[in-house]
Symmetry: D2
Subunit: 332 residues, 4 copies
């Protein structure tokens, strides 16, 4: 049974990664690390996960002696740890943005100087619905961002069909997407009975979405605007697509999506706009597609749980593929 | 002091109208009516409003002997009552959609056969920021819908400047916008920890927004998609505008909005995207405008309290104008 | 593999029972029934449960041909269905109050005339932590109420030790405890940003708690007051115990509770007051016990998920015992 | 018009105090101070309050040149500032606990060494319903804690009648009661869908409640347990009273409370258990009283808005009395 570690397990996505690996039938979770919470037990911080392990200060002499690692570090900090783990032969899923953008110039425009550029070519973008085969052979997988996961799955069939001329993405996220750091912005009293946009007009998930849409054939500049909502877990993207040719009487959107996803275990199609409750604590992305005949615009909704399919359970889905296990083990 | 009645005061917008008129220094609230809740006191249904009046079964022989009325009836039902009140000389603000659309064919396409078409020409669209002078002389004012109020105020400066080529409006509303009727859709357990779009792709507020944008010079077909959020009061519209000429280096959006609204007592401009908490229980619309230089798209946010500026306090603002009172009396 | 049916599967507890039996490795869920929602699929009403079965109108000729049934009917209506199922040899867990009170006079004082009194002697009170052996041999199990489940588990060690002289129970519940029926009381806008007591001073769970405390040796009249909270699932009972002898320096409460529950798979002890998030979507009851040295009073908190341990997963726990399966199958 | 300052106006209670004084017809708010937020405008931190003043670093040479001050400082820190303000002749309402406990030994047992003991005898406990006359002549008023405000008002009639033998107080508070400091405990994701007790078994509001009950004639040791709820503003206390003589057929509780409060402008009696929504953003305390005939226990509920009657609006009520103004000016 392959052994595993989670680096940065005190945050929301790291802690859930630890819980999923701890309960996983085919991985043995051996280490979990944290910085300021080192010395505490994870089930003290997250009683609901029931992981009776102590968070340790990171020490590569010990902690890199595992087969698999999930890294839940901040951008930039992740790259260096990933490089050290790779040197020691550990196969890694990285939850940060550090290896998601294939073009280092784009990364550096939106983030910061990239400390480990040579690893970029090794990294596979960890969206199994697009890159399943590459992930199977990968040693380093860049787990997608939560918004890109929902958005790309929602738009992929249209992008492949060459239908996207322009797209506006209005995204709504629960507060766990902002992470565990306590701040004015995540204080209950700030969020409760409120809703507002943030990251206007340049949210960092923009280039990641554009990269993958381009890879699918849709070379567009998107407008992407996230909003913070008073709920804990859950993310909805509302995608407004101006199609290349206008409304097409022959176009059977429902059939196009059914064909695209009928064999995908973690994509679920719906006739009505999905709510995030329907995917809470699952690895599923639930999608509905609609045509507005008055305007010719196509409207696609995608709902995920940002901590699950948007981060930790998708990381485990990737690990399952990397280690030749059944794709849904431990997450369905 | 003019006397007033509220018809349909058991629902959310009617009850708040009653509270505002009850506390108003220059109106005397004489009657409030309801159907199934007749016989109960309003402060039993809404203790927070502290209106110690009994809800009565509607009886025009009594209740039409007032100077002013707010009608909070369902679409269609409102038109008939409004007609009877007008015959008796009562000046009316109607909260329904029955007199908002100037083109009866458009009304009948989106709603139902119109029972009182001849009154349409008398009705003034009750958005004081656009029609203040006409409201001053009006006997019948059609109070705008909540979404149109926020959207039209957010877009008016761009529409007047001829800048709108296309617009996507993604709207988010608290549950009070769905009214007091108890249903699966308004059950706490349905809404809590959830978010989803509804009324896709044809929400009835669409033609109302298009009518007013056209009146301002922007003859466009809009895409309008509302979403239900887990909060009680508050509404945010996120408007994504494709401008006619693309990004204009000379265009000073902030200045354009400042000029448009500097004398408006109930429009508030902000530098950052507004949250609905900032306008809770006020007659204010809070707006921010942004330009996305990458795409040339203009993004405008408008936040209101759907029960206040989106309904009841705007109705009182209209009554104030109709009766020659100070516009903000009783609502600021 | 024993076959199973859920009667009344459109409500919250029935639907979750159906989901748990549908996913259960050792039961085959064959039928689910409903009244007004008959003809709809359960995954349309509850997409998150992913049970692709149609709700059928109850027809005992078909539906009683199963080995096991969970009955999720209203009080009174349940008794008659349970009697018919027992006549046909179906082993039943009943979620209603109809078979919980062993004294028919008490039942009739708090509820209504009991239609099936002769079955009362057959029924076992379905709290496995107290009646595990009797449940193993039972054909009819009365599943406890949600408040009694948390309260009795919280107080059982003190009751057995003869320490309870008087007890005040202040209970807090999420809205799902009020059921799926849409009403003013369950409307989002009523509950949101609110908290209030209800059922004062005579809530129907009172005699059920008193019956079981008496069976454990504490023959007391309790004060039990539930409150409605703005959350969906979860229930917390705060129990304030005046002990028989006042504070006892020798009394080791923590040790008493550890001994009582160390072999119980679904009772979890905590050092700090439990939150309901820690037991959400689990069959666990999480308990902490404290002594107030100033007053000598003992304070015990018990947290459960009202839909799980308070209803559906406890019903499955009971079915597992009745059918000789591992107690935690399908619920842990 | 008397001038005023608010010290510590960046926190929740200080900011609301500033808003109420800014809008007050008979005070001129001249200064507001803060530590880490100095230099920012209050309407940037709290747009909903619309106070266009800058938060300044405290400088007594400037800021003490006012007639009235509200001090919203932490315990201990407040005492020293209050002493300096009193030396300069400023009349002060202090929101901290520093001058609430008349017995310095009790203060030091529950808090810390008291730095300004000699001022204790000057301070009046600022609950106008009990100490209106003393407040009228006071230069230093200790504003009550939020829990004590609701609890003492709920129990005062019973305490005066000598009926309280023992009392359990189970209190529920919204998150704003925990203050603006961002922490794990106030993070949205911690609080949402949760409820738990805290401060068990020794919350610091205990001696304050006991002091005032004793002053009213009820010399009891109370059990007081607060709980944190997923709402922003609002506080409910559920008081379970064992009465001295058991149930008294002659006792007319409703009449006793009506007599006690019929002339109080800010106490409101209800027949059914009050919800906190009914008092949101008001200076009211809403109370209901019930007798459980089965147990003889009396149950009293008291609901307030913790930021208003529990802090800022009660502070203004006190200032109004101190300066000979109408008691409700600026807060009703």
């Amino acid at each position: 049974m392959p052994s595993a570690a989670v680096f940065g397990a005190a945050g929301y996505t790291g802690a859930l990664s630890a819980k999923l690996l701890h309960d996983h039938p085919s991985f043995e979770l051996r280490w979990i690390t944290a910085r300021s919470d080192a010395g505490r037990r994870l089930d003290e911080l997250y009683p609901q996960y029931r992981v009776p392990l102590e968070l340790e200060q990171m020490n590569l002499d010990h902690h890199a002696v595992v087969d698999a690692a999930i890294v839940a570090y901040p951008h930039g900090a992740a790259a260096e740890l990933v490089a050290e783990l790779r040197e020691r032969g550990v196969r890694v899923v990285d939850l940060s943005a550090d290896f998601r953008l294939r073009d280092v110039a784009v990364y550096e425009e939106w983030y910061r100087p990239h400390p480990e550029q040579e690893l970029l070519t090794d990294a596979v973008y960890g969206l199994p619905e697009l890159y399943r085969e590459q992930i199977r052979g990968a040693d380093l997988v860049a787990n997608p961002g939560c918004y890109p996961t929902a958005t790309i799955l929602a738009l992929a069939p249209l992008a492949r069909a060459g239908l996207i001329d322009d797209v506006v993405i209005d995204a709504k996220s629960g507060v766990s997407g902002a992470g565990r750091a306590a701040s004015d912005a995540t204080h209950f009293v700030t969020v409760d009975e409120n809703v507002n946009a943030y990251g206007v007009p340049r949210h960092r998930h923009t280039p990641e979405i554009e990269q993958e849409l381009a890879a699918l054939g849709a070379d567009v500049r998107i407008t992407f605007t996230p909003h913070l909502l008073p709920l804990d877990q859950g993310e909805l993207v509302s995608c407004y697509v101006t199609s290349v040719e206008g409304p097409d009487a022959e176009l059977d959107l429902a059939e196009m999506y059914r064909e695209a996803y009928e064999h995908e275990p973690f994509v679920e199609l719906a006739h009505t706009p999905p709510g995030v409750r329907a995917v809470r604590e699952t690895n599923l992305c639930r999608i509905s597609v609609h045509e507005d005949e008055r305007t010719g615009r196509l409207i696609v909704f995608g709902a995920i749980d940002n901590l699950w399919k948007g981060a930790a359970s998708q990381a485990v889905q990737n690990l399952n593929l990397m280690f030749g296990l059944s794709e849904g083990e431990g997450i369905s």
